[in-house]
Symmetry: C2
């Protein structure tokens, strides 16, 4: 059936007495037809003499009609197909179809937010065929309409991220369509605008008039948010609260939300539907229970009286003022008293306690709960993450039976300890899936709310989080990537989808290695494992690929692409260049290189490029999003809060007008700050020799490097002499003092193992200069320790030691098997592709509901490896496991693993240590988080180490995850050679595979 | 008598058989006449048929005659006065005068290095009158000749520091001159060229050919050194040893030294007249006693066999190779065995043990001595300083009776822990006087040798040290300043002398606050007490004054003035500007000020100015001293050794293309990094108010300041509103974002105490901006806590508390008296003017030989003061004494003081803790120096603190020095308000004085 074309307007038929939000959404759909075909749909309302319900929101509805953004299509005289839409049990238009058995609604009837699509022939006189959309309730119908919008090519982000509608000449439906969309997986799904300055607030201030209390968060803005939420199939919202009062700044806000169909809440720290600022502005006396109840109780009561006409979830209990803990002296009994009083007020105002109530167990509140605080069964327990995307606790035992159920408060943007993260998106979708699937399986299904900062630029994780909340079964560990492709296709079309999705995956993986705000020049090693350069190259490739895609997109798509993909890729890559160039500047200055100065210039270039990307974003589309990229992100000074102004790290300049004391030529080696010739604290005093890390035939990269650089004022020729079996990428050359950026060269060293003597030895590489070496120094040399080893033929497959360590990606295990039990419930590992810090993803124990295991009952991940270094009890090896930064979601079942080398006794570690014992002080600590948590969330990994004695030879490392939630990313066996780096040594060579 | 004029050549008459060194010095004097009058003197040698002694140094003597530097005057036919010069008991020319009773030599006869001047009528046929110079021995005569040189106007530094001779038309002697110059105070006096790269070695390499082993330290250079030593009345020399071999690099070196009259030695670490490099070059096997004696013993024997023809002091014992300790396992018995063997060799080579022998108790060797090692009585014990100018130990008890006596090895230049100091001179003459007078009084009078690095630029301390060694009684604590004036007069004439001396005093005082190599951007506080700016202003004034003097000097004097005064003043001031500007750059960047960027530019300007001063020095006089200023001094990285290349500290840049998050205006206050409006870790989160330190009527400066700055992109007008009794230096203004250097203003705050309410209070100062304060912040304010206090009229004189502390310069005591005893031997304090870190100098206990004292027997320094703050045992005051960095020179008598508040029980502190007990581990520690020594020498002060409970009111602090050597500089009573700074709070207000 032709629904619409550029000469035929789709005909929407609704019932005048359907929910105003439904009628409003139908108007959106009509406009969406216009966005796609150029011709708006028409909306016809079935009229009745007597309304079945009372409507009282017409004032607000008129506001939305005045929305100049939403109505753009032309009119047409041609008629397209008919769409009949309405809410089951509310309007005759639909109920008559059901009564006449033209449609079977049994699959959605009585369900929460379900809907169906069906083509019906002759649904009513004069209509040959119609596509009938029926919602089981108000939002069911609304979602059914927005589903059509999406299907015809309008993204939920058409306005908020400028995604161009996918224009079409004509739109058809298939024959005999019947689609049933059941109840969403999670009952209340939404987001929280929070810490909305400077970006969103700055943008508001130039786009909307301020209300009487100085906030521009008025209904003219919120209508876009409500529409976005509904298009994303969400239903729940916590409004901006930092400098605003949702109900006060604009009296239209709350009724408008209700009309749209949004269930309002307030944040975890704002009880009883009142903003914190309401207390600041209108309250009297201290915000202190049992001290100032005569003011607090009426304050709370007014909140629910004001909310009563509308759909709400009431935030219960209290926290301190301004999102802080209540005073330390508060007792659980006092909190119970607060809630008891609040319940009395609800009973009085509502006449019963059926209004949904939520208690957010945020930060210290969770500790009170765990200490035995009583909570009424019908209050939803909203468990919180740690603000960093790790859910802190989930229902256990009979908690899953509570009538109020449970939910999760999650973050993709945060202001607080140990560091804000709010510049651009850093959230890996694989991580959201892993944590929220865990929560879902553990029955936290009543509320999912995500803190999204300023909304932009968190479009991708918002979409993913809400899609998962809407249909948790639709995405598995293996299909996160498919979701990304599908979502990319929706925004930028099928042709670009795969490439864009690839960029998004790499972008979020790199961004997730560490929050941008915690990246600095000391993070990635410029000395060891080529770590900084490798990461920088990944960013540069990513930025180039993202830029390349941009060239293939139609002009209409570039704005949305820039906002959600290109700007983060370019700005992220630039930020990494800034910090890594700073690290090089600092290293080069220590080493006296002329190139230190060009590196400083590069940092300042990057600093201004960063500004230019901000300008590019803010001036896009004639400044539509001006100020939305105002967030400072460079210049954090060891403090959690954003810097008030951006500033560079310290840049050092060398005196290039003077020659170094040890001549014009300097030579440095991988893994050392030392320079020869000359004195420094990084190699023996006055020694003219540096030592490279050892080389063996099993090196991961197969090479080492040295660098020769100018630290003087003269040209010089350099020449390298080596043993015949040592090969250098270049054996002679000339280096000028200027230009500074070209005043150095890197020389790679490889060994021709066929010619290298067997066993261990030391080769000396001399580097001569055509100039002298200053008044005190002489020709430098580099020592190359080599181990010409080989594994026996009996070692068939596995990792091989090099450089006195073995590094193994978790996913590259040699073998595994299911644990005890049968079928899909038998414990086993799944790979979480792309998850976390390693390219190959991570290994997670499944199923989520598996019981506590032991090495006997758990499946093992086994890693075969071969070592040449003997370790002993006095000089043991160190085995480090890198695990996901997850927390102990079951107080009595801390995350735990066991490991053994060969047939040794398994060593067990509960590596997240808040609930390892029942020590009350642990959960009463100021952070209410486990020891080491700040480091773990910063690193996005727990690292758990033990010593082991491993004789040289063939071995098997066995790893057993003993609790669901354990996710293993990487294992490093340090045989004495591991050097400092952020990510640990890169993966060792695997032979036989 | 006319001695010489531009038309009359002075006639020097000597005896052909006098010491070659005497004849050579006479040639120098003849040339000096030429330097002064334009006409060289003539030298006539009395001839004899039979020489009274054997002369064998003619080859070397010819070398000196070929010296092109020394001979410049024209010849004249006119004859001037006659000077007869010669050595008593050696030549007939003199002995005949004595025999004929024309001169009485009894006052010098038989003395060491004495001489006399006397005008004699008709000394010989044909001579009416002559000035007769008679030396008691070779060097006596040489000194008598150089004395004439100095008197007629030739500085010892005429060549080595380019001091212009003071030209005169004619030179006369007074009538009936008779001057007796007795034996020098110290027998052997000299210096040590050490760690002579890169400066001196670089200079050598471009001025002299290298010897066969690569060193340019040949006789053509050393002749200048020997002449300098003799002109400075020194007689002893340790040659450059780092890359050289004195006896090997040029076979002329040793005979030339002897001919000149120089007694050769080798450094403390080079026994038996052999250079370390001789072992490296010619030795076999390890430098290890009892392991390789078959090589070591002949090596040593050859050294003294080679030295036997010449005057030497033999360095005894052994240290490890390269100026390091012997292996830790060595025992004192082994060292004794080494020396016993060495004594046997001396007996064999010399036939007796009368050759002077020296054992330097450097670093760990002193510990062996203190542990009871036996040392032959006739070996001179050369006590060492700590390399930082603090003598470590001096003779005690019957050690003063030893026939070998004692000496001191001192440093004015050093390479080693905790930090090199070798760029420009940092040594305060007052400190040399205090330490070396102490040493002299304690009978260390046989050898004084000073490590002078590259000689230049240590001209001033070299002169002072050797003058003091020559005549210890000629300089007292009160006449150091007079010496400086006299010395300045010698170099630059009497007109400039006072001004130059003033500059030198201020220069060495400022340089001595901390070695330049240990100054960095974190040293002087840019937050507290205006410390950094005050110090910088002192440097800037000094540089301006030094520059001003330069304008008054004749062109011929500017080179020497630049080398010894102007360059250190300018380069020192510039270095301070560099570091303090860096500190401001870093502070301004933290605060987001636009001016951070101009401060970075200033640092880079300073960095290049530093280079320019180096170039100016190196190119002076057509590059005469090229490379002599090559020493790196910027860019030390927490390591003792010099950086191979100069590099700046870290410079931060703010993003001036973007506005700060809290608007264009920032406000900061004295003593805080915080900025309002806005968030930072330096003031309460989101608070818009900063708090100034408290103000009272007794403030040292009487004012506080705030700063208003631009941290944005727009102009703004600012306006301050205050209480009526608070005065601001400016109440309104406008600040532009550019130019960055002008984008801030400082506003001083004073209180009109007549109008201020009594008691304590808080005044609020609001600072408004014509622009907004960003999306989240509001108008800032500054809190001014004030204490409107007054001392009672009963408090007549003394220090008054302000800002919760009292800071007192030691010299500003209220009263003192002599201790028990009578006359000049009664213990008492003297002021050491200008000494150390305080403007008023320091207070030292005298006499040096006073016995150990107690508070009953010692004199007290009493300081009256008045406090308003009550301290208690739980919140006590802290009393800190700043004392000179001296060490415990008597093992059983550690430096000690006592103090009491009012009539409280005296509290005793032995504040230098190596010998506080007899714990052997203390002296065996790796540094062989007391705990805290590195800090003390860096700070040039010991700080010694205790707590005290001091109620509000009038008090007297009593201080008793209990051992000679205790030098008190400053006392700070912290009543809770002292903030971090390098020098401690500036002196508090004294009333009634």
């Amino acid at each position: 059936m032709l629904l619409a074309s550029k000469s035929a307007a789709a005909q929407l038929m609704l019932d005048e007495f359907d929910w105003p939000g439904v009628l409003r959404a139908a108007d959106d759909l009509a406009a969406d037809f216009g966005r796609v075909t150029g011709v708006n749909g028409t909306v016809t309302l079935a009229k009745h003499t007597k309304p079945p319900v009372t409507l009282n929101a017409s004032v607000i509805y008129n506001l939305t009609h005045s929305n100049t953004f939403a109505r753009s299509g032309a009119k047409s005289t041609g008629k397209g197909g008919v769409i009949i839409a309405g809410t089951l049990g509310r309007v005759p238009l639909i109920d008559d179809l059901v009564k006449s058995k033209k449609i079977d609604v049994s699959e959605i009837s009585g369900k929460w937010e379900a809907y169906m699509w069906q083509t019906v022939e002759k649904p009513m006189p004069g209509v040959d065929e119609a596509l009938v959309l029926i919602g089981s309730d108000k939002r069911g119908t609304i979602y059914s309409l927005y589903d059509v919008s999406e299907q015809i090519g309008v993204s939920p982000w058409y306005w908020f991220a400028d995604v161009p509608p996918r224009t079409k000449a004509a739109i058809y439906t298939q024959k005999n369509v019947r689609i049933i969309q059941g109840t969403p997986s999670v009952k209340y799904r939404g987001f929280f605008i929070n810490d909305e300055a400077p970006a969103l607030t700055g943008w508001m201030n130039v786009n909307y008039p301020k209300g009487p209390y100085g906030s521009a968060f008025i209904a003219d803005f919120y209508q876009h948010v409500f529409e976005l939420l509904l298009r994303l199939r969400a239903n729940y919202f916590w409004p901006a609260s930092w400098g605003s009062m949702f109900n006060v700044d604009d009296p239209r806000n709350q009724p408008l939300a209700d009309e749209y169909g949004i269930v309002m809440g307030t944040s975890h720290t704002e009880p009883f539907m009142r903003a914190t600022n309401e207390w600041t502005t209108f309250g009297h006396g201290p915000w202190q229970w049992n001290v100032n109840n005569e003011s607090i109780i009426p304050f709370l009561r007014y909140g629910v009286e004001r909310a009563k006409p509308y759909e709400s979830i009431i935030t219960m209990a209290m926290r301190g003022s301004g999102d802080t803990a209540l005073s330390s002296s508060i007792e659980t009994t006092e909190l119970e008293d607060i809630v008891d009083t609040q319940r009395e007020i609800l009973q009085q105002v509502y006449g019963n306690l059926s209004v949904p109530q939520m208690w957010c167990l945020y930060k210290e509140v969770q500790a009170y709960y765990n200490m035995g605080m009583k909570v009424a069964d019908d209050i939803t327990l909203l468990w919180a993450d740690d603000n960093w995307g790790n859910v802190r606790q989930l229902p256990v035992g009979n908690e899953t039976e509570r009538s109020g159920g449970a939910g999760v408060y999650f973050h993709v943007d945060y202001v607080g300890d140990p560091r804000n993260y709010k510049w651009i998106n850093t959230v890996q979708l694989e991580k959201i899936w892993e944590q929220m699937n865990f929560a879902y399986q553990r029955d936290a299904r009543d509320i999912w709310i995500v803190n999204v900062g300023d909304i932009k630029p968190e479009e991708i994780p918002i979409s993913f989080f809400l899609d998962l909340a809407y249909d948790a079964s639709s995405i598995s560990a293996n299909t996160v990537s498919a979701w990304t492709k599908q979502w990319s296709s929706q925004q930028w079309g099928p042709d670009a989808a795969d490439d864009v999705a690839d960029v998004i995956e790499r972008l979020t993986k790199l961004s997730n290695l560490r929050k941008f705000e915690q990246v600095d020049e000391n993070l990635y090693s410029v000395l060891n494992y080529n770590e900084a350069d490798d990461i920088l190259a990944q960013w540069q490739d990513l930025a180039a690929d993202a830029q390349k895609i941009n060239g293939t997109l139609p002009a209409s798509a570039t704005a949305s692409y820039f906002e959600m993909v290109l700007q983060p890729a370019l700005a992220g890559a630039n930020l990494y260049d800034l910090y890594i160039s700073t690290a090089k500047n600092q290293m080069y200055a220590i080493q006296g290189r002329n190139s230190a100065n060009s590196m400083a210039a590069r940092v300042l270039d990057d600093f201004n490029t960063d500004h230019q990307y901000t300008v590019d974003y803010n001036t896009l589309l004639n400044g539509k999003w001006n100020h939305m990229m105002d967030q400072t992100h460079i210049g954090y000074l060891g403090y959690w809060q954003q810097p008030m102004r951006q500033s560079t790290p310290g840049l050092h300049y060398v005196q290039t007008l003077e020659r170094g004391l040890a001549g014009d030529m300097g030579v440095s080696v991988e893994a050392s700050l030392g320079v020869v010739p000359g004195d420094d604290q990084y190699h023996p005093n006055s020694g003219e020799s540096l030592v490279l890390p050892p080389m063996s035939p099993y090196g991961a990269s197969g090479q080492r490097y040295i660098e020769i650089f100018n630290r003087g004022v003269n040209d010089f020729n350099w020449n390298i002499s080596t043993d015949p079996f040592v090969k250098v990428s270049k054996a002679a050359g000339s280096i000028s003092p200027k230009p500074e950026a070209d005043s150095q060269t890197r020389i790679y060293i490889t060994i021709d193992w066929d010619k290298c003597p067997p066993g261990s030895g030391m080769s000396v590489l001399n580097v001569s200069s055509s100039r002298d070496y200053g008044t005190q120094y002489s020709m430098p040399s580099v020592m190359i320790p080599y181990n010409h080893t080989s594994v026996p033929s009996s070692f068939k497959e596995g990792f091989v030691e090099d450089d006195a360590h073995i590094s193994m990606d978790a996913a590259h295990y040699t073998r595994t098997a299911k644990g005890s039990g049968s079928g899909s419930n038998a414990p086993h590992y799944i790979n979480l592709p792309n998850y976390g810090r390693t390219a190959s993803g991570a290994m997670a124990l499944m199923p989520v509901l598996a019981p506590s295991l032991s090495p006997r009952t758990a499946p093992a991940l086994e890693y075969d490896f071969y070592t040449f270094t003997n370790t002993s009890s006095t000089k043991p090896a160190n085995v480090t496991f890198y695990l996901s930064p997850s927390l102990n979601t079951s107080p009595k079942r801390p995350l735990k693993y066991a490991y053994a080398i060969d047939d040794g006794k398994p060593d067990t570690a509960a590596y997240v240590c808040d609930n390892c014992n029942d020590d009350k002080t642990a959960v009463e600590s100021s952070q209410y988080l486990p020891a080491g948590w700040e480091t773990a969330v910063g690193n996005n990994a727990w690292s758990s180490s033990t010593n082991a004695t491993i004789p040289a030879g063939q071995h098997t490392l066995k790893f057993w995850a003993l609790e669901p939630g354990v996710v293993l990313m990487k294992v490093v066996v340090d045989l004495g050679g591991v050097r400092p780096s952020y990510l640990g040594p890169p993966e060792s060579r695997i032979i036989g595979k």
